[in-house]
Symmetry: C2
Subunit: 190 residues, 2 copies
């Protein structure tokens, strides 16, 4: 039987997105965001929701650009740290020994040591409530070459992403392969 747990923000696993942006002095910043995901296929777009009070909010409005950095489980402490403190008080790149690299496409920095980065141009924003949602067009994705197969495609077996569980507030790794998308369900079609 189902029980009501009230109006909450819960999904059983969301991607952990580390957003890179510059302030007006081109100081690079990183901020962890769990409220975000892909929101359009053509053009390819990603949304991230931030509170107006954050340093990154102002940076993104200023530059109309951001990066989304993907960290693997070896950087779990860093991923949490980037969401704990503000770029107003800390140089989060320096404090974690990450090298800021300016994107060659958009005016935003990413971390050289992070395995995957999405370079995004702000194309829309929506005021929702406590959070503002930014929609970024994904202009390019850059991936460490050891994560690519011989055809230059991402090798799923080499990814070790971090997933976040709102509610219990836990970080988790990805588990085992369950099946092929747009394939495994064909057996049900009558």
């Amino acid at each position: 039987m189902k029980k009501s747990i009230g109006a909450n923000t819960f999904l059983p696993g969301v991607p952990v997105l580390v957003v890179g942006s510059y302030d007006e002095q081109l100081k690079p910043n990183l901020m962890t965001c769990a409220w975000g995901g892909i929101c359009c296929s053509v053009p390819p777009c990603i949304n991230i929701s931030l509170r107006k009070a954050t340093y990154s909010y102002n940076n993104i409005v200023l530059n109309k650009a951001f990066t989304v950095n993907i960290l693997f489980s070896d950087k779990i402490k860093e991923a949490d740290y980037y969401g704990l403190v503000s770029g107003r008080e800390y140089d989060k790149f320096a404090e974690t020994g990450i090298t800021p690299v300016k994107s060659d496409i958009v005016n935003a920095p990413y971390g050289r040591e992070f395995p995957i980065v999405l370079e995004c141009k702000l194309i829309n924003s929506i005021e929702i409530g406590l959070h503002t949602e930014f929609i970024g067009e994904i202009m390019d994705i850059k991936v460490e070459d050891n994560l690519l197969d011989e055809q230059g495609r991402i090798d799923a077996s080499k990814l070790e992403p971090i997933l976040y569980l709102p509610g219990p507030k836990g970080y988790y790794s990805r588990g085992s392969y369950l099946g092929k998308g747009f394939e495994i369900g064909k057996s049900i079609i009558s």
Copy 2:
């Protein structure tokens, strides 16, 4: 070294959301959506992106309501199937032996056999490109009572969610616990 893989829709694991809606004859429908996530904490909101061509798109515009059903890995075939065929041609509840239940809060159905459901009222929508993003306020979440602990909170250890990997198009389970959110990164704060 990083290599460009071009402008794509990629994140290393996104939640699989099964959207419930009614058509004008109150025929219930289910559709799998991988483009979505939490987008605001106050009020609690979730976004889902759908193509205008889908049956569910019209249903959501009509009723200004939808549910988000969470399926576990025992329903991996069904999760894929709901994204393979259209509600115009199939009764997807009946074909998969799922019982439609009308939400007592919004004008949308959910599946009795699914473990978790978010009941959502449409509060905004944004045209992006091929996809339209719907923003739903989460009015309530209903959870099977065997997934709750003695305090009535979701027991993370009992969740077996399905995650989707765009690009390689694979479904995955959730893996092992990596640490506590808003806690594990404190050791870095200087």
